[in-house]
Symmetry: C2
């Protein structure tokens, strides 16, 4: 097990850098029952930093499994009024929200039909949550992962929690003497990359590699940014720890070609998608293949009209702390930061210039990795000229 | 650890006899994080019995401890809107609610001021919850205890969960070949006692023993009943497992004399009150003494005007399955069923004839044990004549 000191330092980092918690703020912690030790550490740190009230919301994957086995279809999609009340409080009080990831029971949904898993989500609530988080921006939020036995077992084939802590600590810069300062420097470096991309005013981005020849058009308002976010009232926070990406919001109608995922991923709790291949025409997915989990992806894409169009392009190079660990974490918060990725589903307003629109609309947002040493990334001008951005996993755009 | 089969049978008993769950009903499970294994067993059984949706609500005593250490006074009393929404859903949908007891962290509040602990409760919500549960009666509910290490450590001085399971199983009749039938017979026996008491139409009840000489007046509408409850729409359920009592709701203005608790108890999570002595005048507590925890009781009595008057009298004889285990469980669900007890605070409408009133009003209801082999219990007629009910722990009222 990790030292109490390590857990406390991690909690400090999440509260101070990730959430950048304000004095007098309410904090909601969203996690699984198995994350309780970390939720407790975060609560103690948050109160010490002046939180008004810390409220944990624990979910239970086992009880959810029973629901998936037995409940009627309409129950799977139901939005509980208590979760709505939680969200509205967060919004009205300009609260902070910490999400804890690190799946404690990766096999929990074995044997459940993929389409049923994809259907089992509170549609109304997810729409409202996305509105509050991404459009109204009243909440400073952050996702961090908590190493646990189930997750370690999934990553290493054995419940080596110690080893997972070591990797996670390196990924989130807890191995630095002053992690808070290390994060400031890191975010500045990523900010510099975003600035260079914005200078170029590319019209599209092209990925080419084994199984991949994909061109994604950008919007006139597409801007490149980092996970250095701000609330509507100007309060900065870092929503993902780790983060290694610069990203933008593409034109949902201008994706053409084929793409092969370079890493497996788990789009929904307990699911695995491996060897995904998508073909796009006129912006939309028209063909889904995979060695494993194609039904889960198809279920997601059928959920609403926008689900089969792209909402994000993110660029990550081989210097990524996550990528250099060379491990599949089965946790999107980590795996998306190992390599370039794109997301089908909702487009983030943060990837658009203020006052512009055109981002894809959908209730979900699923990232999957398409980058790696064999995948070249180019920026394409309006006249079709290509400028190299990444070659052999190295950032080459000056 | 208990066998999976024992846990499943216990869950069955809670769902079938305790809640008497209806097909298509929503079930809410209220418990601590440490109760998750039992919550999961209950959810599986409930879905198998046709529950529409099972929703667990986990609380975290460690995070609550941080709140008690740091939060402002008004935060301690705050009623979260999400809990209000949960309650209203339960009420509107005529749902079922299972509470799981068995304190996993009995020492969690060590060092926190007793009055602060007493203050830390969502007053508005508790009032509304009591209204829904006891006045509107739209919910079939049940409290059961789940053996765990912390609770076992508190009971035995060592975390002997196996031994605690053995005692709990005997108390709730899981040692019977057909526990469901054993419960039917048991509830019929208690019902018979209540009927005999109601025939007598006593005007008061008197307790006399070491340190105790207490007379509690009854209301014209006071009726004796068992924990065989019914919802407003006539659906029967058993809210406490175990239950060994017959009870009534007394006249809150007519308690006189002194009473000494015969067992220690924990009125609020993490608290211990031992050697409690109360003196009553004109229905109200006028003096509080205790070897331990007097401040917790005083804090409760100050919470609202009705807190210092009685809301319940319950009679339990030496045949009680709980009493015969001869263990202090530090859990009111068990300990109150070991001996006669009274409660300061809210009077239950279930102890009054329909259409009558006069029950004490308060936001809390705290039971403590005053019976035992040395305490005689008499029924007193309107003309002052005494009729023995209990002598030397034996039921003597014919």
């Amino acid at each position: 097990m990790p030292s109490e000191e390590l857990v406390r330092r991690y909690a400090e980092l999440a509260v101070r850098v990730g959430l950048n918690l304000r004095k007098g703020q309410d904090l909601q912690i969203i996690c699984h029952v198995e994350h309780a030790p970390f939720a407790r550490a975060v609560a103690a740190v948050a109160y010490a930093h002046g939180a008004r009230r810390v409220s944990p919301f624990y979910s239970d994957q086992h009880i959810r499994r029973s629901m998936l086995e037995h409940a009627a279809d309409d129950v799977l999609e139901w939005s509980p009024p208590w979760t709505a009340a939680r969200l509205e409080h967060l919004h009205e009080e300009r609260g902070a929200e910490l999400g804890i990831t690190g799946d404690p029971n990766p096999d929990i949904n074995d044997g459940i039909d993929g389409k049923r898993i994809a259907r089992a989500r509170p549609k109304e609530l997810m729409h409202r949550a996305a509105e509050i988080i991404f459009d109204l921006k009243t909440v400073n939020w952050c996702n961090v992962a908590y190493p646990n036995e189930g997750w370690a077992e999934r990553v290493f084939g054995e419940p080596d929690v110690e080893r997972l802590w070591d990797l996670v600590a390196r990924a989130v810069r807890l191995d630095e003497a002053d992690p808070v300062r290390a994060w400031e420097e890191h975010m500045a470096r990523l900010g510099d990359r975003a600035a260079r991309l914005n200078e170029q005013k590319f019209d599209a981005v092209r990925f080419r590699g084994p199984g991949t020849d994909l061109e994604i058009g950008l919007l006139p308002g597409s801007v490149w940014g980092t996970a250095g976010f701000e609330t509507s009232y100007g309060h900065p926070f870092v929503p993902n720890m780790p983060t290694e990406e610069v990203f933008t919001t593409p034109d949902p109608s201008r994706t053409e070609g084929t793409v092969r995922a370079t890493r497996p991923f788990g789009p929904l709790p307990g699911t695995i998608v491996d060897g995904l291949e998508l073909r796009f025409e006129g912006g939309s997915v028209v063909d889904v293949r995979a060695e494993q989990g194609a039904d889960v992806v198809r279920g997601q894409l059928e959920n609403d009209p926008g689900a089969a169009r792209l909402g994000e392009i993110a660029l990550v190079d081989g210097q990524s702390r996550v990528g250099r660990l060379d491990v599949v974490f089965w946790d999107v918060l980590f795996d998306e930061n190992a390599a370039c990725h794109i997301a089908y589903g909702k487009g983030l307003p943060d990837g658009l210039a203020p006052g512009t629109d055109g981002a894809n609309e959908a209730s979900t947002h699923t990232d999957f990795m398409i980058g790696g040493p064999e995948v070249d990334v180019d920026g394409i001008d309006a006249d079709g000229a290509a400028t190299p951005i990444l070659r052999a996993d190295e950032w080459v755009l000056a």
